[in-house]
Subunit: 338 residues, 2 copies
Amino acid sequence: MTTIAVDAMGGDDAPASVVAGAVLAAQEGYLSLLLVGDEPRLRSELANHPAVPGIRIIHAPSVVAMDESPSFVIRRRRDSSIWRANELVKAGEADAVISAGHTGASMATSFFLLGTLQGVERPAIATILPTLKWAAVLLDVGANVDSKPHHLVQFAIMGHVYAQRMLGMPKPRVGLLSIGEEDTKGNELTKETFKLLKQTQIDFIGNVEGRDVYTGDADVIVCDGFIGNVALKISEGLAEAIMQVLRREITQSLFGRLGFLLLKPAFRRFKRRVDYAEYGGAPLLGINGVSIICHGRSSPKAIKNAIGVARDFVRDDVNRHIRDDIERHVELHLGTAN
Amino acid sequence: MTTIAVDAMGGDDAPASVVAGAVLAAQEGYLSLLLVGDEPRLRSELANHPAVPGIRIIHAPSVVAMDESPSFVIRRRRDSSIWRANELVKAGEADAVISAGHTGASMATSFFLLGTLQGVERPAIATILPTLKWAAVLLDVGANVDSKPHHLVQFAIMGHVYAQRMLGMPKPRVGLLSIGEEDTKGNELTKETFKLLKQTQIDFIGNVEGRDVYTGDADVIVCDGFIGNVALKISEGLAEAIMQVLRREITQSLFGRLGFLLLKPAFRRFKRRVDYAEYGGAPLLGINGVSIICHGRSSPKAIKNAIGVARDFVRDDVNRHIRDDIERHVELHLGTAN
């Protein structure tokens, strides 16, 4: 049975919503969950829910504060829930770790304790975006800045595997996020990366512009973490702003309010389509282990779905496929170099 | 009277929508418009509209094709409408030029023919985004890639002047687009730029994350053109995708359709709020002249509004204010260096 270590203290509503999400996941069965955090608090949180088998508490006395730097966490917070949860994976007591806490600290801890897969220099955070067709994988959305072209090639290979294994896409089309479709458009990083991606065995469809991200024409979209983070956050901010303006406009008249009432089911279906909670957490791809990063504002449902992502990631042995594809890529290029 | 050279052949719907937009602008009076392009075609287009004073046709035999490189345009397309329109500004026969054609060719031609203002190394395209409060200036959205920190400082000073003069903001708050609020967050470019911006006389509020772009907490948001272009295009793509999904959801049931009917005025008001056409074109700031870049899909209304932007830009002598502020900044730093 898959065992997942859950940082129960991380997230805006932790531990309440994390514990609630873990209970939801445990109710579906076939999982062993290790809730890592302050034992008395977790015990009393759990008491608010019906008892389910498969949940165990692992005590960790401290919590990483949002203003603590990742390097401080590595040096001084080895008794924290994030650190302990990652240690369980390193020790082989858990197959995966999930955290909705301090993203930088989660990444740094997983990177430091678990290391990277053979051939991967830098891990990347992969997120799933809803598109007009279905969904696309965007990576990196913030694990790295100032990436080099060969890092982006590694991200492309990892994202390709992730789309195949986790989204069931047999032959994902991989695009490079840039500012024009022609290979001559972009910055130094993308122009160099373009050349390298053409030499891989993945289905590289060329540059993808910002306005094509949500059309669904690319299944995997590769970029540096600075760009990806701005792209992701601006999307979240804009979607929220649009809904807020629309709501304000709608409630300004009686007809508007009546119309809104009639449209409520449609709005709800729509929200579900674009709701990040549906997609759960974002994996830190390339780590020698399974580490899933959740949004700080994760609801219980988002936590449950992130636990599902972790379980599938382990079950489908995504890391073995990443290792294989990276190795094949390296061999191909050592071969042509000689 | 202000004279504006209009590239009548540039844009997806050119010359029809450009001519229609010019006619709308001319109907408001106090303007002299030079429509630059194929004379017979423009003459027959104009015949579709009621005659208005203030419009003159300047013949240009060729049109820049979308797949021609900016350097090709500079070498071989000196008889094109873009080139001729810019030449009119250089010769002092027009005060400003607007084009909805090939953005790269427009920028390159203005840069090549008109040069930059004293102290400005690179021009930047500034666009106006709607926010929850009102509006914000985002720059650069695509004139440059791989910018250096001191370029971003120049963009900040130019964006600050633009917000003051064109949006009537007395003391615009300037933010640096990055991936975390602390000054230690970001990439090499933003970390170095952060330090430089703290030494300017503008109201620098620090890093702004993607999700804060649409809240309206910053009035001017500064970034490299690659980032800004991705941010702008992804916003356009997402807004379109959201409206499309919402429309699809809404028309799926009778209640939905009835509700939609009742909400139509609200949707229309909303669309107006986020419609780029309302804001007209985006100026190429830093050029020694006035050059306004329009969206390729500009409607007649968007063209009319872009002409209005050009007129206000000339009338308020925005370039003089940019020159003054850049000069003051340079003096301040030469002063402290000694």
